[in-house]
Subunit: 149 residues, 3 copies
């Protein structure tokens, strides 16, 4: 079973490394703008970096959760590709937000869309597993049969 | 093995959808009370919605973690039922906190109790697995034997 | 498969209990320094406890994620030992930060090092699984063969 999710695990490690990168940027911003912990307010340049990291951290557990549910119940490959797109969107969001509050919007919408796609794939996969288990139906296979048979 | 945790996965997706709902409420509150990012302070009405969402986000990874440990090591059905109760408690908490700081307390205590129950089930399940593995004992089965044999 | 990760699950429950302990400390600090929710600012003594808990909560999902990836793909025993060290480091961090901003630094660096070790073990385990799956190579086994054959 581990073989099937090895790509999801690789995307997970990339996600953790991205969070580590964001955390380091906050440490650099604290030094640059002389904002010592536990203080979290300061010039807008600092607050944007701080909030960008806080927002990414807040979404990280949601992303990891839904990445694994879609990888386990829908498709490891589809989940991994969406996961890479999400992490790329979050990188653009962090860079954009660090530059200006306006700059965060386009990549934020992009990563939100990828997250909704992962939620949709997870829901499809889980509903299909429930259909197989409780009703004896495999509607995803029947659906793909319509197109490829 | 996936079949056994399909209900836990369904509760997980509901939990992610609830977090998405809370995040949208913060966006609406930002517009209503004109609090633009990266600012996180404003009228108490806004701050209560903001803190309600922050508190739910903070507990989300703890909830998901303990939901899956109890689902895997104790019982998928018991974990799923507790998970639904927790998500319902968190919904009441969000509504209550949005209305008044006092209104958050009763549902907060309720969801804390459900979380402690999940922690207890997880601990029982993991200790039982360790007992089976290292001591050759299955105390949960012996315990249920006392009542049902 | 559950038997192999039972120690990782036990460390996970300890981690959840530690987070519960940190949350209780914030509640006690709120009472002691009369800082009522939704307010999060107050005397430095309160803010340090609040930020210590916020920082531990922020890292909790990253820790749990990488604990399980290293436990599944590298070694359950190695991941569990690192996990215990990390939780001990976080306890010292919380105590140190509660006393002074300076006191958080040494245990913060310690737990960061343990986290990097877990990331390294995860990456090794996942790359090895990919090597086995796509290239037919098991470099971890070959490496251990160099030392133990």
């Amino acid at each position: 079973m581990l073989d099937e999710v090895v790509c999801v695990a690789a995307v997970t490690i990339l996600g953790v490394l991205e969070q580590a990168y964001f955390s380091l940027q906050v440490i650099y911003a604290r030094r640059k703008y002389s904002v010592s912990p536990p203080c979290t307010t300061g010039p807008p340049e600092f607050e944007r970096v701080f909030r960008a990291q806080a927002n990414c951290s807040e979404y990280f557990p949601i992303f990891i959760t839904i990445l694994w549910v879609s990888g386990l119940f829908f498709s490891s490959a589809a989940a991994s590709v969406c996961g890479l797109l999400y992490l790329y969107g979050r990188y653009l969001y962090f860079q954009g937000y660090s530059a200006s509050a306006q700059g965060r919007l386009a990549p934020l919408y992009f990563s939100a869309k990828v997250l909704w796609l992962l939620i949709g794939l997870s829901a499809l996969g889980v509903l299909n597993s429930m259909g197989q288990l409780y009703l004896g139906l495999d509607f995803l296979q029947q659906l793909s049969g319509l197109f490829f048979d």
